[in-house]
């Protein structure tokens, strides 16, 4: 992951500053139950975009690692998982605050919530798996295999679970039967939502880049 340019970092900052300021002023549709808490969509959903992007990055780099056994790919894979876990926990927390307001309880039985929680458990297990293999090359290989295996099954879980039970989340596609909010963000919300989502993804990439550098340096020091 070498991105030498700087413009995207500035873009991320600008987009996020825009989202945290204009996100509170933009006109939103009047809805029962959720009211103003709807603005959380700019921040909460962004966390999931960030997590998902990082997990895809990790998956791709695990595949790359198995192709050439180059250690730098393994480094990207684990650091991307770390960033994804951070986004995942933030996503859960922002979601819990929101759910407490609108659904009356921080945790409800909902396929999206369960999918997110299972994702976190899978990748926490991935971290534990890594720490319980001593040999560096073996660790990289075993965890890459687990990452690929787990990611595919997690995607299946996230895709089929909504078909097995109804969701409180607004409908996406053809699943879910009880939308709280008739889907479709209002045009004014879109002007904040998409920039915010891109901003969060770019911020995640930035954190990832710094983490990779840190781990590279740590590795050099250990070797020395």
């Amino acid at each position: 992951m070498v991105i030498k340019q700087y413009w995207w970092k500035a873009l991320s900052l600008v987009l996020l500053l825009y989202a945290v300021t204009y996100g509170f002023f933009v006109e939103i549709p009047q809805m029962p139950i959720i009211h103003q808490s709807m603005r959380n969509i700019f921040y909460h959903v962004g966390m999931w975009f960030g997590m998902f992007t990082m997990l895809i990055v990790s998956f791709i780099y695990s595949l790359k690692y198995l192709k050439g056994f180059d250690e730098k790919y393994d480094r990207v894979a684990i650091e991307a998982v770390n960033v994804a876990l951070m986004f995942g926990f933030l996503g859960i927390f922002t979601g819990m605050i929101w759910a407490n307001f609108t659904w009356g309880s921080p945790w409800v039985k909902d396929p999206k919530l369960n999918g997110a929680a299972v994702g976190l458990v899978i990748y926490l297990a991935y971290v534990i798996l890594r720490s319980s293999v001593e040999d560096r090359h073996k660790r990289a290989k075993v965890s890459a295999v687990y990452n690929i295996f787990a990611f595919v099954l997690w995607i299946i879980f996230v895709l089929i679970l909504p078909k097995l039970s109804s969701s409180l989340h607004p409908a996406t596609g053809n699943d879910s039967s009880t939308p709280v909010m008739p889907m479709g963000l209002s045009p004014s919300m879109r002007t904040v939502f998409y920039p915010a989502a891109i901003g969060w993804i770019l911020l995640g990439t930035w954190i990832l880049q710094i983490r990779i550098r840190m781990s590279k340096i740590k590795h050099k020091i250990e070797e020395y």
Partner: protein, 220 residues
């Protein structure tokens, strides 16, 4: 052709090994019996069909994890090296999956028998339930064989086996519970056909992944 010959040889080897070390399979059987007995004693009074269903699958999951976790640690590393030199990794993993499928099919039938004996029979559509059990055996054996291979490469094998497999086995388990749940509640197959298709697809995906990924675990 070669693959098939290797497969049958390795499968026969697994069965012989199991029959030689009777205590392993006897241990799992006793584990199964005592877990069912614990639930039988813990639940006094009547239970609903949903509780029946979830208890059954939770017990089966634990039995499966217990039974399959030994797949790759039973034999010595030296023996694995020997297999490495004479067979392809694909036939090793497929033979393990087939063997564990056999084991799980037998164990799940016994579990069902014993469970029905103690907790009462709530199944309305036995054929659908058996279908779920067989598809479940295949799914559990293929996912858990792969996880057993991963966990065998790390230290503290047993707890790793559980934490790595539980979240991953969930899509399978939830679908299975849905199918067997409808076998408890109705005679009809209509609602379950799409779920059975999903189960088949999950099984194919898992076996394909195992086939492609296992060689990387095997080479050391």
């Amino acid at each position: 052709m070669l693959l098939r010959r290797e497969l049958t040889r390795l499968l026969l080897k697994e069965i012989k090994l199991e029959l030689k070390q009777r205590y392993v399979i006897n241990g799992i059987l006793l584990y199964l019996v005592s877990t069912v007995f614990v639930t039988y004693l813990a639940f006094t009074g009547t239970i609903t069909a949903e509780t029946w269903n979830s208890l059954f699958w939770i017990i089966l999951l634990f039995v499966a994890v217990n039974g399959i976790s030994k797949s790759f640690i039973q034999e010595s590393p030296g023996r694995h090296l020997y297999y490495y030199t004479i067979t392809s990794p694909q036939s090793v993993v497929l033979s393990k999956i087939l063997y564990n499928l056999l084991l799980m099919a037998i164990l799940s039938m016994l579990a069902l028998l014993f469970f029905v004996l103690l907790m009462g029979n709530m199944i309305q559509n036995p054929l659908l339930f058996i279908t779920a059990l067989l598809l479940g055996s295949l799914g559990l054996s293929s996912v858990l064989t792969m996880i057993a291979a991963i966990a065998s490469r790390a230290s503290n094998n047993f707890s790793l086996m559980a934490i790595l497999s539980f979240p991953i086995v969930l899509p399978l388990l939830m679908t299975l519970m849905k199918v067997s749940g409808s076998a408890l509640n109705s005679y009809s197959w209509a609602g379950s056909i799409p779920l059975i298709v999903i189960l088949l697809m999950i099984n194919v995906a898992v076996i394909l992944l195992a086939y492609l990924l296992f060689p990387y675990l095997w080479r050391d």
